[in-house]
């Protein structure tokens, strides 16, 4: 059988040279990278050496109790695109939905990636893990719990993608028939980046991966492990319909005057005020739109336990802040509530900043 794949592994340096990139441009790139990482100029040769010898980082993607929506979302990213990621930035060594090999060969690929890249690979997980019975979810006859613990051991960092992997998601919704838990419930000794959403915004998934690859650090996280760059602001605070909330102009039902004119969806149950995500700024699918812009209230899908928040069409029933109740009872004084919510959010953010300073590669090695 043809086997082109036993060729000696090429480093990034080899790859760049084979693509006609000169030593001079490469060093310039290294200087820029060093500067971005706030390293002194003396470090540039070290950066160059590290980069030159770097292979594309290995990524192992495990799918447990999930719907494949997170993988679908990954493929929708307009930048970085999935094809650019897998050809140029990462080596996606195990991924059920995309990988060519099945069965024994697929498992062999996972085991080889774990062994060859021990301590250095990135583990991505989507889906929750059922704890009530190992038979509730197996891959190759192995329980999800065993596979997660085994694969996590040699990972440099873990990215939990989607609300199921980050907070338990829909399998964890009441009455949680399978005892589903999140990755963070089980793994305590590795850095975990939580990238929630049902699914997460496509470019947010790839954005977190490229941040890690480009800067070698985990982005700053909030109090529940989400990167602030994408989850630092509430949808409400960034919503283009916010001025109508402040003016007290609301859609009362779908397709009424307010709905048609793009007024605030608060009374239709919008969870924007208690949901931290980038939908209103980044939007979805190459900036095409986002749920509120397309007329549907935000259902709060990047928040823990949003499934049990009391009803998607009930005004602010999310079990998070007291502002929800306040807002419910004082819809007429909407502007005042907005100010109060802002104050609460700022307080929450400051607390999160204090609790979670930047994590660096050095921290990871500790």
């Amino acid at each position: 059988m043809t086997n082109k794949f036993d060729d000696k592994n090429k480093t990034l340096g080899d790859t760049l040279r084979s693509r006609g990139i000169s030593r001079r441009s490469f060093l310039k790139f290294c200087a820029a990278t060093a500067s971005m990482m706030a390293l002194p100029p003396a470090m540039i040769p070290k950066v160059a050496h590290a980069l030159e010898n770097a292979k594309r980082p290995s990524v192992i993607w495990l799918s447990f109790q999930e719907c494949t929506g997170c993988t679908e979302s990954l493929t929708r990213s307009h930048s970085a695109t999935i094809e650019n990621l897998i050809f140029d930035s990462i080596s996606l060594d195990y991924h059920h939905t995309l990988q060519a090999a099945s069965g024994h060969a697929a498992e062999a690929a996972r085991e080889a990636a774990m062994e060859e890249n021990h301590g250095n690979y990135i583990l991505v997980v989507d889906g929750s893990i059922p704890m009530d019975n190992p038979g509730y979810s197996t891959i190759a006859g192995i329980s999800n719990y065993d596979m997660l613990m085994d694969t996590a051991k040699g990972a440099a960092a873990i990215i939990a993608v989607g609300t199921c992997a980050t907070y338990g998601g829909i399998p964890h919704a009441k009455p949680n028939p399978t005892g589903a838990v999140s990755v963070g419930d089980l793994i305590k000794d590795k850095p975990i980046i939580n990238v929630p959403g049902c699914p997460p915004i496509p470019v947010v998934i790839t954005g977190v991966v490229t941040h890690f690859l480009t800067f070698g650090t985990i982005p700053e996280l909030d109090h529940i492990g989400r990167p602030k760059v994408f989850y630092g602001q509430s949808i409400h605070d960034r919503c283009y319909r916010r001025p109508f909330y402040d003016k007290g102009l609301f859609a009362e039902t779908f397709d009424d005057e307010g709905a048609q004119k793009g007024w605030c969806l608060f009374k239709l149950g919008c969870k924007g005020p208690t949901t931290y995500n980038a939908c209103a700024t980044t939007k979805w699918n190459n900036g095409t739109s986002f749920p509120i812009e397309a007329g549907h209230p935000c259902i709060g899908c990047s928040e823990p336990d949003f499934w049990d928040g009391g009803g998607f069409y009930k005004a602010l029933s999310m079990p998070t802040e007291n502002i929800t109740q306040t807002a419910l009872y004082t819809a007429a004084g909407a502007a005042a509530v907005g100010v109060a919510a802002g104050a609460l959010n700022r307080a929450k953010k400051n607390a999160a900043t204090k609790a979670h300073p930047n994590t660096t590669i050095e921290d990871l090695e500790k």
Binding site: K55, A105, I170, T288, E293
Partner: protein, 573 residues
């Protein structure tokens, strides 16, 4: 059990599927299909607001991302006799149609193609000859020698870097791969083109539903209002975007997907004589032109075909408790009435009872329960659902475009009509129906524009939105044709809450285990039809036939109300 082949995980599918095959020499004698993951979404739905159900149900699957949302709102609307505006039906048709086109193209290139296309062989292709091949098949503009030379270099650099990623440890060089290097290179190029294309056309869902995956729906209509004078509703700009996407879909289907399917199939005609499976086909019907209450206006008719007999289409009644039933004889569930009973979804009951081997395990005990999937049956018959069932139903009911497309395909491939009932036929049917939907999209779009022009901008019917306006008890079924086949959700509402919820989905029909009478499901039967394995360690033959069904296993596994109670009022549509 040395002559038992195990393939787990089956990759390039949705969800967790395991196939075990008992060999006789190098032939598959019997096959066993097992879904290995359960979540319990139907139990989670119990007690919730029926208007919220679509969001939960939609998370059954993120690949066929909107279908469970749509089936769910239809179940509530059917239970309440809730009429939706014409624009809402048209927008739903556009969204579901877009789902077909997006999903089928992605299935072909990203899930199925690597069963037929040898990526390594593409490295020895001549770009100039590849260009000539591509231009002989289609007028797709990306077909120059330079384009294919760049593609070859990209692939070569990737392979020579030594990190194969998703292409590692696959079956390259296997003698079952028959395409010449040039066809392989062309297909690899289109694999990447399709990745880029799908991102753009998925935006149709974002326009009407705010996001993809998992766009939004609403019981009683659609959430997006139409207002030609608003910057925040469906307006002329949004409609122009939709038209652009429909054009983009049509171009790719006509210039890339159809020619590629025919070209690749011409090297694999032997797959037109294996993988038939059951010979029984079922559709529920969908794509209304005059509301869901009028089945005569459906683009896809509902019905059943038995034993390949296209001369008789049997009527299917979704409400009749003697027609659609689910069995658990080989599933990890218990029934109060015993493991051999069959239950209609309204009366469904499920108790999780995992009796399989303790993980980690090597083999399932297939004489006992061996799957989280149940075994649905229609009047006791195991049925195949999906593109082949739909194409046959359209063909049998005299749909002209289908007859033309099927005739053209058989003619071009020079294969007999029996070749439809096969692995190859199933894959070809998926391509052919994509063309039907690509054309239908333009029709729905034109109807939507005409309706707006005539002054009808309604997208939502408010009348039954408040649960206080509902009867104390109601039940209904929301059915549809999802890309992978007939899908239905049965809902029982009591005191404004969900009392019982049950989904019987395409991959349960196709991937389910044996029933109490030992009748295999469609995957199992198809694998038992004429499959010789070249090398059991490289189960490419199994993958070809299983992938021809486009498995979606998260969809297929579900469970119902443990206290499922018999109900007496049966609503007939």
């Amino acid at each position: 059990m040395s002559d038992r082949i195990v393939v787990d995980p089956i990759t390039r599918i949705e969800g967790h599927l395991r196939i075990e095959a008992q060999m006789e020499g190098d032939k598959i004698a019997s096959a066993y299909s097992s879904g290995t993951m359960v979540r319990g979404i139907e139990t989670i739905l119990k007690g919730r607001d029926p208007r919220d159900a679509w969001a939960f149900a939609q998370r059954i699957c993120g690949v066929c991302t909107l279908v469970h949302g749509l089936a769910s709102i239809r179940s509530v609307e059917n239970a309440l006799n809730y009429q939706v505006p014409k624009n809402a039906d048209l927008i739903r048709n556009l969204m579901n149609g877009a789902q077909y086109i997006h999903d089928h193209v992605m299935h072909f290139y990203h899930l199925h193609a690597l069963d037929w296309v040898d990526v390594v062989s593409a490295l020895s292709a001549d770009p100039k000859a590849t260009s000539e091949l591509a231009q002989s098949l289609s007028n797709y503009p990306k077909s120059s020698p330079g384009y294919f030379a760049d593609m070859k270099k990209k692939l070569k650099d990737f392979v020579e870097a030594g990190q194969l990623g998703i292409f590692a440890k696959a079956y390259w060089g296997h003698p079952a791969y028959k395409l010449p290097p040039e066809a392989n290179l062309m297909a690899v190029a289109h694999y990447l083109e399709a990745l880029s294309w799908q991102r753009d056309v998925a935006r149709l869902h974002t326009i009407f539903g705010g996001k993809n995956p998992h766009p939004n729906f609403v019981v009683g209509g659609v959430p997006c209002p139409i207002d030609l004078n608003s910057d925040s509703a469906i307006n002329a700009k949004r409609l122009a975007q939709v038209q652009d996407i429909i054009n983009q879909m049509n171009t790719f289907v006509e210039q890339v997907y159809i020619p590629d399917t025919l070209a690749i199939a011409s090297f694999y005609k032997d797959w037109g004589s294996r993988g038939e499976g059951l010979g029984n086909f079922l559709t529920y019907g969908d794509f209304p032109s005059n509301g869901m209450e009028d089945p005569t206006g459906y683009l896809i008719p509902g019905g059943a075909i038995l034993n390949r007999d296209l001369s008789t289409i049997h009527e299917v009644n979704m409400h009749d408790s003697s027609e659609i039933q689910e069995y658990v004889a080989h599933s990890w569930y218990d029934y109060d009435g015993g493991k051999t009973t069959g239950l209609h979804p309204y009366d469904g009951e499920t108790k999780l009872n995992y009796t399989g081997p303790t993980p980690p395990y090597d083999h399932l005990d297939v004489d006992q329960s061996y799957s989280w999937l149940k075994s649905p049956r229609w009047k006791g018959n195991a049925m195949e659902v999906g593109p082949l069932a739909r194409v046959l139903m359209l063909y049998a009911s005299g749909h002209d475009q289908t007859k033309d497309l099927v005739g053209m395909t058989l003619n071009k491939l020079d294969v007999p009509v029996e070749a439809l009932f096969s692995t190859l036929g199933r894959t070809a049917a998926r391509t052919l129906e994509t063309k039907i939907f690509a054309d239908a999209m333009q029709g729905w779009y034109d109807d939507l524009v005409a309706n707006i022009k005539a002054g009808d901008t309604r997208t939502f019917n408010e009348v039954l939105w408040e649960p206080s306006s509902w009867p104390k008890q109601a039940q209904g079924v929301g059915f549809m044709e999802a890309p992978r086949g007939g899908l239905a959700h049965w809902i029982v509402i009591e005191d404004e809450r969900i009392k019982n919820y049950q989904a019987v989905v395409p991959s349960t029909w196709n991937a389910g285990p044996r029933d109490a009478n030992g009748q295999p499901g469609a995957y199992e039967a198809a694998l038992e039809d004429n499959h010789t394995m070249h090398d059991p360690e490289q189960p490419i033959e199994v993958l070809r036939t299983i992938h021809s069904f486009d498995p979606c296993i998260a969809c297929a596994v579900h469970m119902t109300d443990p206290d499922g109670k018999e109900l007496t009022t049966v609503k007939v549509r």
